[in-house]
């Protein structure tokens, strides 16, 4: 088999996001579908043209091709130009100006805020963002989110329709609107990240791409003074801390490894450093969000050289702060887990008794897994096995099922 060429990874994908954003700024969001097709054409052209020789600057080549394509577009949707007064105004701006780096970043931010617009169904926002900003195909999105391609198609179509029908302006909101919308933008980015980090998707490369995309989007918000704030900095730090452990979460035979069994030498140090640096900026104001506390917890885990050295006392403290700021049954469950690690069984029992499985939705198996651990640690093997059985009957993900089965076997063997 012939050797692959050493071109920048994901150049096309990132270029897709840039070009779609710029073209939407020029032609308007209502032409999104045509624009995505046009950008697609640019890549096909590149494949033909680059067959024999790579250009010196592939990125510049693509940009020029996109600009030329844009001029074609001008001709083909000329009638649209007459209908939309806006377009003439925007088009009057020197088009070249919009291809400068700052303006590209600005266009992409507008696209992020469009994807997170309240007029879009929350379920559709992620699929739309992955398509328009991330340059993923429907098939790739379906694989990453473990959904059917047909579902993704519906979501994207519905989102595009909402964008067109509700006449969403292609802009970064201002003032109070900016503050409110940024909250949703961060939620969507974190959801995207979690799809990658916690997903049942077995292909590590796919998961890394989702995590990387979430990091890239949050970095864009940080790089613009309008959208940068302590929350997005903390979110970025948090995602760096988690990402550092991504490679060690699963072993060669595709089994989930918990914090106790992960090979800590595999943690990726540069991401820890990047996270720490950003965390220093994020904590400067002294106002903390849920992302700050979650980052603090993730950071405590990274600090421990061995599992035994984990500072559970501080972790519990951060969970308590998190719970005070944003009460959630998942915080309580995590606190029970920490209590068990501290061998504070009565505290663990207290917390678990406050919870009901239904509060945890799809992840209620975690609740039973925690009870199982409690009974195991307090020497009640029969109850522990029973709780594992319940958890195993509820777990939706094969990898986690394997993990629980193994734990149950170990209790049985003892």
């Amino acid at each position: 088999m012939a050797e692959e060429n050493p071109m920048i990874d994901y150049l096309f994908r990132h270029q897709h996001g840039r070009m779609v954003a710029i073209l939407c700024r020029i032609f308007g969001l209502e032409h999104l579908e045509t624009i995505e097709d046009a950008v697609q054409d640019t890549f096909i052209k590149a494949i033909g043209a680059w067959r024999n020789e790579l250009p010196d600057n592939p990125e510049a080549w693509l940009t020029t091709a996109a600009k030329n394509r844009l001029i074609d577009l001008f001709r083909s949707i000329k009638s649209a130009r007459e209908r939309h007064e806006n377009l003439t105004v925007t088009a009057a701006i020197a088009v070249d100006q919009l291809f400068l780096d700052d303006e590209i970043a600005d266009s992409q931010l507008r696209m992020i805020f469009t994807a997170c617009h309240p007029a879009l169904d929350p379920r559709d926002q992620i699929a739309f963002a992955l398509k328009a900003i991330g340059g993923f195909s429907r098939k790739e999105i379906a694989a990453a989110l473990l959904l059917k391609e047909e579902t993704i198609k519906k979501r994207i179509t519905r989102a595009r329709k909402a964008v067109a029908d509700k006449i969403i302006r292609f802009e970064i909101p201002q003032g109070e609107q900016l503050r409110i919308r940024t909250i949703r933008v961060l939620e969507v980015i974190y959801l995207l990240f979690n799809e990658g980090f916690h997903s049942a998707q077995k292909d590590l490369a796919v998961r890394k791409e989702l995590c990387g995309e979430a990091l890239r989007l949050s970095k864009m918000l940080i790089d613009n003074p309008l959208t940068c704030n302590a929350d997005v900095q903390a979110l970025f730090a948090l995602m760096c801390f988690h990402s550092a452990r991504l490679d060690s979460k699963i072993n060669e035979s595709n089994e989930i490894l918990d914090l106790r069994t992960q090979d800590r030498s595999k943690w990726y140090f540069p991401l820890v450093v990047a996270g720490n640096d950003m965390m220093n900026l994020a904590t400067a104001s002294g106002e903390y969000s849920v992302y700050h506390y979650e980052a603090a917890i993730a950071c405590e885990h990274l600090r421990a050289q061995t599992f035994e050295e984990t500072n559970w006392k501080d972790i519990l403290k951060w969970y308590q702060k998190l719970e005070a700021l944003n009460p959630s049954p998942f915080n309580l469950l995590n606190m029970a887990v920490v209590n068990l690690q501290q061998a504070d069984f009565s505290a663990a029992q207290d917390v678990l008794q406050q919870l009901e499985e239904d509060q945890l939705g799809q992840r209620k198996y975690l609740y039973h897994g925690c009870w199982a651990e409690y009974y195991k640690r307090t020497g009640d093997a029969a109850q522990a096995i029973h709780q594992y059985d319940v958890a195993i009957s509820m777990v939706p993900n094969d990898l986690e099922k394997e993990y629980l089965l193994k734990k149950r076997e170990r209790v049985k063997a003892d």
Binding site: M1, A2, E3, E4, N5, M7, Y10, L11, F12, R13, Q15, H16, Q40, D41, F43, I44, K45, A46, I47, G48, A49, W50, R51, N52, L54, G135, F136, S137, R138, K139, E140
Partner: protein
């Protein structure tokens, strides 16, 4: 001559990433042939627009590439001792998995 049929990227819904990977494979194949001194010439053909002229009346039809059943996507003229040697070169064509076909034809030489 290696003539490439089918596997029109424009109609396949490939993602940018998949297209970049395709491009990498084409580039690598070309590089391999160049290094072996096999390539004489070659072109990729634009498939967005096809103009066909046919019949005694020279009837002209403009069609989109996607409407043509087996579209020629490009060709290479390579130096090969015989069909078997050309077949070895053609084995690296990147698009078999997308339903592409390579047709090997000898360029006739008159002397």
């Amino acid at each position: 001559m290696l003539v490439f049929l089918g596997a029109d990227y424009a109609t396949m819904g490939l993602s940018p990433d998949e297209m970049q990977q395709r491009m990498g494979k084409w580039f690598a194949w070309n590089q391999k042939m160049q290094d072996a001194g096999q390539v004489e010439t070659g072109h990729a053909l634009d498939s967005t627009k096809v103009r066909q002229v046919s019949g005694p009346a020279r009837t002209v039809t403009d069609r989109a590439g996607s409407e043509v059943k087996e579209l020629i996507g490009g060709y290479y003229v390579v130096k090969a001792a015989d069909f078997d040697a050309a077949e070895v070169i053609a084995a690296d064509f990147p698009d078999y998995d997308l339903g592409g076909t390579v047709e090997i034809r000898e360029v006739m030489v008159f002397n």
